[in-house]
């Protein structure tokens, strides 16, 4: 069997109309006129004689105060730190790190990770070299909570995706539930990533639904954008927001970053598909620090970019 849209295309008189409508639709989606802007590759972290090779890193976090980059090196079951010029500093290995995925660090120097092997949030007690699973308090026990991606809000609460339940949980650092954002929306498949801006607005991406969701600091949905037919947003896996309020959506299949304004209108594109330095082939995670530097995780490498020449 073979699907064809013959009924429309075979009527020659309608072709110009169909083409015109397609152009309008593409324009409305920002597909026409979206230029690819230049970015500068600041650093590429993959292999180092002291660190060895990164293996399927899952997440990262940049501490602007201490000027340290921390990478959850999932495949090697360790956390690795880098200095402000992204040179290897040290690492923390522990049998409690099964598959570290998400990572955040509070201003008090506390590390929290999510573990893909157990679906838990874990507190990393660096001083005592202990890894303590966080007990979630106040959550309805009927549903199984499986922690996915992790972020910090402006009050340094933990903001985490619940992989099984189409929801985002906001938790105090002791694990007490502050709020569960659980929108009942048609076409929502679940949240693959979450980030929070300085106002406390939450940005989440639904890979299969090909949409970005924006919630305000009360958990109210303020906007969602992206369409299932959008050829630009093919397989969005991660999201980040910069200090100007621009939303960066990492698209795995196209190997590009799509930059939207806060209204969800596409502004421009960054990067292109490829395996060479400065290109993305199978990216999984994006992060933006306070200086608007863009970090991507793509296979076994971390690349850091800055927009412009």
């Amino acid at each position: 069997m073979y699907k064809v849209s013959s009924n429309i295309v075979n009527i020659p008189r309608l072709r110009p109309l169909v083409v015109a409508l397609l152009l309008v639709a593409l324009w409305a989606n920002g597909a026409i006129g979206a230029e690819t802007k230049r970015v500068r590759l600041i650093s590429l972290i993959a292999i180092d004689e002291f660190m060895g090779r990164l293996k399927e890193p899952g997440g990262l976090f940049y501490d602007g105060t201490k000027k340290r980059l921390y990478v959850a090196d999932s495949g090697n079951k360790r956390l690795v730190s880098f200095d402000e010029e992204f040179r290897y500093l040290s690492e923390l290995s522990h049998r409690g790190f099964s598959i570290p995925l998400g990572i955040v660090k509070t201003s008090a120097g506390e590390f929290y990770i999510t573990d893909a092997k157990t679906g838990e949030i874990k507190f990393v007690d660096v001083k005592n070299k202990a890894i303590v699973p966080l007990k979630i308090k106040g959550l309805d026990g009927k549903k199984k909570f499986v922690a996915g991606r992790l972020s910090l809000d402006e009050k340094e609460n933990l903001v985490v995706t619940d992989r099984l339940n189409k929801r985002i949980l906001i938790l105090k650092r002791d694990g007490t539930l502050v709020k569960a954002i659980e929108p009942e929306l048609k076409g929502l498949y679940g949240f693959s990533d979450v980030k929070v801006d300085s106002r406390g607005y939450i940005y989440a991406v639904d890979t299969i639904g090909r949409k970005v969701y924006i919630f305000d600091n009360t958990g109210r949905l303020v906007r969602r954008f992206g369409t299932s037919n959008n050829k630009l947003m093919r397989f969005p896996v991660s999201v980040a927001v910069d200090s100007r309020g621009y939303i960066y959506v990492l698209d795995r299949h196209s190997g590009r970053i799509l930059v939207f304004n806060d209204k969800g209108v596409l502004q421009h594109l960054l990067l292109r598909k490829g395996v060479s330095p400065g290109e993305l082939y199978n990216p999984g995670y994006i992060y933006i620090d306070g200086k608007n530097r863009i970090y991507t995780i793509d296979g076994n490498r971390v690349q850091i970019f800055l927009e412009g020449d």
Binding site: V4, S6, I47
Partner: protein, 404 residues
């Protein structure tokens, strides 16, 4: 001079009219006898029960050009265009699901052009024609066979040209046009439950099965044992728990297979993510998959489907997704079953890395700084290049790493 000009003009007009009329009447002219003088087979056309209308009218030239043609058998136009000249395409193709021979204009694969003893000038018995492409043993080779299949009446359910429905099904709720929904017989067969409104094909094969009631080959244990109340409320279609927790009550151990670096652990379409891929009753596929492997995966991986469909070269087993990928989770990228060694798994490509270009830790891709593997040069999901190479085999691929 002026009069001579008018006369010349009139002669020209009359000549054109006569020529056109002559040609038109020639097309309508009964050329049967003329053609049959040489083409002795023409007489045989009339021995059959059904004769194609232009043949019956002796209008051989309606399809054949008596002088010359660029098409075989002196056909006036390409085969499909010729047929669609009289048999309007819009009427034949009732939807956007089109039978592949129709797409390719192969009308004469099923229909005879001159005459036939079968209806619709079919070349043979209905089922025989279908089984020419669709494997007979897959359709009616099982113990219990749907009566219409046994009678060879494929077109009771399928439209051989086009339909709006997958599988070229004639209409929605096809089954209940014969099996009356809510009828006593139907209730009795379903433990007294009114099954109207349910998807018959979620349990039954429409063709044949080794299970009584043409239930699909692989059956969920509680369903096979008649323990409906494991999942459903007593005497009702209503399920006990609406979400995945119902499946986990029995399959808690399956969760471990999801706890990997790369995983399908996600909420999914509805509240029960298990049901996105698996059916709770019966399936002809392994692991009670809802549909064929590729179709199950493409429900979510639409972009991949679109990419592979547009690729010129694809891996021959591309539709067997689970030969290479793990369905729940894997610590290897792309959820591959054996990471970089997936290609040599199960003896598919045993020579992987043993000849030609080296792979592994001793062969680092200078671009990505990662060890090379098969997918450095090949894209198993599809490529415009032969051997599913990522670039042209004459230098283009090599110079991506080897500078000249």
């Amino acid at each position: 001079m002026r009069r001579a000009g008018i006369v010349t003009y009139l002669i020209a007009v009359v000549s054109v009219v006569v020529l056109c009329y002559g040609t038109a009447s020639a097309a309508k002219k009964d050329t049967r006898k003329l053609c049959a003088d040489c083409h002795k087979e023409v007489a045989g056309f009339f021995d059959k029960k059904r004769v194609h209308k232009p043949v019956a009218g002796g209008q051989c030239t309606a399809c054949h050009n008596p002088h010359a043609s660029k098409h075989k058998n002196l056909i006036g136009e390409s085969r499909d265009e010729l047929c669609y000249g009289c048999h309007k395409k819009d009427k034949l193709l009732k939807g956007n699901v089109v039978h592949q021979p129709v797409v390719e204009g192969l009308c004469l694969e099923c229909h005879a052009s001159h005459s036939s003893d079968k209806r619709a000038l079919l070349k043979g018995a209905e089922a025989e024609l279908c089984f020419g492409c669709h494997k007979k043993e897959n359709i009616e080779g099982k113990k219990f066979v749907h009566p219409e299949v046994r009678k060879g009446r494929c077109t009771t359910c399928h439209d051989p040209h086009g339909s709006t429905l997958e599988g070229l099904i004639v209409k929605n709720n096809m089954c209940i046009s014969c099996h009356k929904g809510g009828s006593k017989t139907l209730r009795t067969a379903h433990s007294g439950l009114n099954v109207s409104g349910t998807q018959c094909l979620s349990c039954h094969s429409p063709h044949s099965s080794d299970n009584r009631g043409i239930i699909k080959a692989n059956v969920h244990a509680p369903f096979a044992e008649g323990k409906c109340n494991v999942c459903h409320k007593q005497g009702s279609k209503e399920i006990v728990k609406a979400d995945y927790t119902m499946c986990l009550d029995c399959h808690e151990n399956s969760m471990q297979s999801f706890y990997k670096r790369y995983s399908h652990l996600m909420a999914g379409k509805d509240d029960n993510f298990c049901a996105d891929c698996h059916t709770p009753h019966a399936s002809d596929e392994r692991a009670l998959l809802r549909d064929r492997e590729d179709k199950t995966c493409w429900q979510c991986h639409e972009d991949t489907r679109s990419f592979t469909h547009s690729a010129r070269y694809i891996h021959p087993d591309l539709k067997k997704c689970l030969d290479c990928h793990v369905s729940h989770g894997s610590n290897a990228r792309y959820m591959l079953a054996a990471g970089d060694n997936t290609c040599s798994m199960e003896g598919c490509h045993p020579s992987q890395g043993r000849f030609t270009h080296p792979v592994g830790d001793d062969a680092i891709d200078p671009r990505s700084r990662e060890p090379m593997n098969c997918s450095t040069c090949h894209n198993p999901m599809g490529s415009p290049e032969e051997f599913i190479l990522r670039a042209g085999k004459v230098m283009e691929l090599c110079i991506k790493c080897h500078q000249i």
